[in-house]
């Protein structure tokens, strides 16, 4: 029996028959009826009155169905495993949703005075202490709305730190295996990016590092375990090299799941750390966001953290806006509060033992998978030092498969979808040819990993037998393989309902195909 995703030939909302009017009920509306004319007069006089908003008027039941149907054509961790490497798609505990409901802060305004939200501030204060402890940092700021924003904040902190000392350091060192947001963030802060190659062992090439550090080195951005899932075992030497040259160490916390509770970036020599609450701490990804970021710092760098910081004077919790050297604010108000509450609950539920279990099991899962897969087939496998254990994730290469059969990492991924299993992350990190990056997190049970091995192996076998099947995949998803060339073609690009002609053209094509 085959899996099939739900398939609704669901209209766009614009294609639903719209009512002339909306019959929505607006609170207390009649009380102000008299004042509507007054306002309209004024707007009219200024010639800026809007007459029409071209969005359909429907009824509530129709709206509900539309989105329920769309949801059935989507796939998240609550549907099945989503072992996207680098994304730490772990289970989002339901108690965190309930926690948000229980706290009842939907209507709490960010400009509320501190003394009226002590219950909330205490939670944030505890969380801040916990995150500092977990990372081995002195202080954390909740400002960054996500990981990349944490990186940007960190890059600015590094920049300002050097400037304040009158040093001109404009080079940021970044491994070639790094996530794209690292160079992008550093570039946004005005740094020149110096790429450091990865050694055959899957770790930073120390000689290369030594050869580029200089008095222009502002810092090194690193994630450890790195994006190959390999722990940078020379991290203390690396830190030494960078620090000796006057540079700072930035830790990309996206991969913290591989060592949380076991080792701390602070102890490794990092000066600044960002965390992705939506990865390591179980906050949901929401189909892309919002997540939640945190940026932490040690020693002299604390002064540079974006403000405000949560503080406690022994009797009261409050926001500390004091900013002598800080980089300022990087977004309005305090942070992505719901993600912070979720992280608080997540840590509270697990405690020290649980967090350690998270790292242990996520690493166990990765290595079990690698071993099991290698027993089933040997075409798709590790690159770089195959004897080294991986941590939270692993990267396989389908390049042999591609050579043999013409089947690409993408084809393999698409075919896996047909089994009701989410595909790996494809083509990242860039240093691995035909990369398939897989991260189970601690949450996937053994039997799902076994099944993943089975499906991946079956797919490899199919590639040799009938590569066409993979090229045509997926067939069991709501829709079959999409034409991305057409999607990106500048003349055919359709970015909204306003691209009327292009849509008409597309519909014509569809009719004739």
């Amino acid at each position: 029996m085959e899996w099939r995703q739900a398939k609704w030939d669901e209209k766009l909302i614009f294609e639903y028959p719209s009512l002339k009017q909306s019959h929505i009920v607006i609170p207390f509306d009649e009380e102000f009826a008299h004042y509507k004319e007054k306002f309209l007069d004024k707007v009219m006089k200024r010639g800026i009155m809007r007459l029409n908003v071209d969005i359909p008027n429907l009824s509530e039941p129709i709206v509900v169905r539309h989105f329920v149907r769309l949801s059935q054509q989507s796939y998240g961790v609550d549907v099945g495993p989503v072992p996207l490497g680098s994304c730490t798609m772990k289970y989002n505990p339901k108690v965190c949703n309930e926690a948000l409901r229980v706290l009842d802060i939907e209507e709490v305004h960010p400009e509320e005075l501190d003394e009226y939200v002590q219950g909330l501030l205490e939670i944030l204060y505890l969380l801040e202490r916990w995150l500092a402890e977990i990372t081995g940092m002195d202080k954390c700021s909740f400002q960054p709305p996500a990981g990349a924003a944490g990186e940007f904040a960190g890059a600015l902190m590094i920049k300002k730190f050097h400037e304040d000392r009158g040093e001109h350091r404009d080079e940021m060192l970044i491994p070639d295996s790094a996530h794209g947001s690292n160079p992008a963030s550093a570039a946004m802060a005005g740094f020149k990016i110096i790429k450091i190659p990865t050694s055959q062992y899957g770790t930073l090439d120390l000689e290369a590092l030594k050869s580029v550090v200089s008095e222009r080195t502002a810092g090194l951005m690193l994630t450890n375990p790195n994006t190959l899932g390999v722990f940078e075992d020379k991290i203390l030497e690396i830190a030494d090299i960078v620090h000796s040259a006057g540079g700072l160490l930035y830790y990309d916390g996206a991969n913290l799941n591989g060592i949380i509770g076991i080792a701390r970036p602070g102890d490794m020599g990092f000066d600044i750390v960002h965390l992705n609450l939506h990865k390591t701490f179980g906050a949901p990804h929401g189909g892309g966001g919002p997540g939640g970021g945190v940026v932490c710092a040690k020693g002299a760098l604390v002064e540079y953290l974006p403000r405000p910081l949560i503080a406690f004077d022994g009797t009261k919790y409050y926001w500390d806006y004091e900013c002598r050297r800080c980089i300022g604010i990087i977004r309005a108000y305090y942070g992505n509060i719901p993600a912070l509450i979720r992280a608080f609950v997540y840590i509270a539920m697990l405690g020290p033992e649980g967090l350690r279990e998270v790292a242990e099991v996520s690493v166990l899962n990765t290595n079990y998978f690698i071993k099991k897969l290698s027993k089933h087939q040997s075409v798709v496998g590790l690159t770089h030092d195959t004897f080294r254990p991986r941590k939270h994730e692993t990267v396989l290469s389908a390049s042999q498969l591609k050579k043999d059969t013409g089947v690409s990492a993408e084809d393999v991924s698409k075919r896996m979808l047909d089994y009701g299993i989410h595909a790996p992350m494809m083509y990242f990190p860039l240093i691995v040819d035909e990369a398939l990056m897989i991260e189970f997190t601690e949450c996937e049970p053994k039997f799902e990993i076994d099944r993943y091995v089975e499906v991946l192996s079956k797919t490899v076998t199919e590639a040799y037998r009938d590569s066409n099947k993979l090229k045509c995949a997926p067939m069991n998803t709501a829709i079959s393989r999409l034409d991305l060339v057409r999607a990106n073609h500048p003349k055919k690009l359709i970015l909204s309902w306003k691209f009327k002609n292009e849509i008409k053209e597309l519909q014509n094509e569809l009719k004739h195909s």
Binding site: R46, V68, M188
Partner: protein
């Protein structure tokens, strides 16, 4: 110790997995971590042990007791005012397939999210009067910062002219985001009569190095900038771009910025069905008119409509070569995680209202603003409203003449009313100026209660 979220933490399962690996202890998988880095003591986090769901919820209920809500809905709101969130939005956002999904990099299995984001892009494009809106930014403030950086890239110029009537919080975010990359920010004031941008001052600031002019509608004072059209003309004459930050709810009754000449539109999506949640998370709206140069400079994700090879209509992420995971240091932005779920929430809300519903809602808020404007005049010892000839939407600015704004707001709060954050906190030139925000949640009685309390407090 095993935990019920983690199947493989079960000792027996663990053992069987370890034996597959031929080892005895998971810690052997950490043998490459230098011994001295391995933590010897348990972390000092949480409550030192596993908590049950019941315990954490009971703890949170205790904390809830220490969160004291005002007696009537808040009237503050520099960056955000309180709005109503319908139950449909809350319920549908929590569809498991939506909220536990990742960014839809595998479009075939995530058509639902992609279609929803395409619809989001479309309704926002309609609201703002442009053709293209991206699939979300973090929030309004960072969206504005990115819009400015985008204008700099698009024009290859380095001067930005910002109205001082843009909210000071956003201005400070912009300062951070343009720090140290050789961009100069120039501020211009407002017309003392109607609170809109001072056009003369503006003209004086425009030159061939000007990348963009930035205004907000309604601005920090609640004033609807009504000369956007002229403004656009001026900016375009010198080859610059007009960036307009607009409240989406104002766009039900006033012409959208895109129609009046804005090149880049920006907004905060919180009024569209997102709770306040003490400030976050929200939704950054960012759009441009249909111009390939601008589109290529956009930050963030874009969803496009296309077809499958079998001839079905479908949706996918497009123009990804702009993004960090492909373009890396030359990407248009570092943004990765965005606010997709909030975008879907906003879409649900807008669909629930319908285009005509948005108009009705906007007008209802406008009517409240008119009511407050009239009512507030009766309070002595206030300059209220601050500008006599202005067109206000959602907010009325007031200036305290005899009392300190902070004192007043504390005093009001003691009476159960949250109002009147001092704008001077973020820009000292605005000291003792505050705005009163009224939205669809405020009844006449609420507004009267506030005004009465203000009267007593400023006495």
């Amino acid at each position: 110790m095993p935990h019920y979220w983690i199947y493989n933490s079960d000792p027996e399962i663990k053992r069987s997995m370890l034996s597959e690996l031929g080892i005895n202890d998971t810690m052997e998988l950490f043998k490459d971590v230098p011994e001295n880095l391995i933590l010897k003591k348990p972390l000092h986090v949480g409550f030192g042990r596993y908590l049950s769901e019941y315990e954490i919820l009971r703890f949170l209920k205790m904390q809830r007791e220490k969160i004291l809500h005002p007696k009537i809905p808040p009237f503050t709101g520099i960056e955000m005012c309180i709005h109503f969130v319908p139950a449909v939005v809350k319920e549908l956002m929590l569809r498991n397939e939506f909220y536990t999904a990742y960014t839809p990099y595998q479009p075939e299995i995530n058509q639902g999210i992609l279609q929803a984001l395409f619809e989001y892009q479309s309704v926002m494009a309609e609201l703002y009067g442009v053709e293209v809106v991206n699939a979300s930014m973090y929030d309004g403030s960072t969206a504005l910062a990115e819009a400015i950086r985008m204008a700099i890239r698009a024009t290859r110029r380095r001067k930005i002219v910002i109205a001082r009537s843009v909210s000071p919080i956003k201005r400070r975010v912009v300062e951070t985001w343009t720090y140290g990359i050789g961009v100069s920010l120039h501020y211009i004031g407002w017309d003392e009569n109607d609170g809109s941008v001072n056009m003369e001052e503006l003209s004086g600031k425009l030159d061939a190095d000007t990348a963009a002019v930035v205004v907000e509608v309604p601005n920090v004072f609640g004033v609807v900038e009504h000369r956007l059209y002229e403004l656009a003309q001026e900016v375009h004459r010198i080859g610059g771009l007009l960036i307009v930050f607009a409240n989406p709810l104002a766009l039900g009754v006033i012409k959208p910025p895109g129609e009046l000449g804005a090149d880049i539109v920006v907004g905060e999506g919180q009024p569209l069905g997102l709770g306040l949640y003490y400030g976050g998370s929200t939704l950054g709206i960012l759009g441009v008119r249909r111009d390939m140069n601008l589109i290529r400079q956009m930050p963030g994700k874009l969803v496009g409509m296309t077809r499958s090879y079998l001839g079905e209509r479908g949706f996918a992420l497009v123009l990804q070569t702009r993004e960090q995971h492909i373009r890396r240091e030359r990407a248009t932005s570092n943004i990765t995680t965005n606010s997709a779920l909030n975008a879907i929430a906003a879409l649900i809300y807008v669909t629930w209202l319908g285009g005509d519903g948005i108009r009705k809602l906007s007008l209802s808020i406008a009517a409240r603003t008119e009511y407050l404007r009239e009512k507030i005049r009766s309070v002595d010892r206030l300059q209220a409203p601050l500008f006599t000839d202005a067109l206000y939407f959602m907010k009325i600015p007031i200036k305290f003449l005899n009392k300190d704004c902070e004192t007043v707001s504390k005093e009001l709060r003691r009476r159960g009313i949250l109002c009147c954050s001092d704008l001077g906190r973020y820009d000292s030139e605005l000291r003792n100026i505050a705005t009163i925000c009224v939205t669809e949640v405020h009844s006449k009685e609420d507004i009267d209660t506030l005004v009465d309390a203000l009267k007593q407090v400023v006495m």
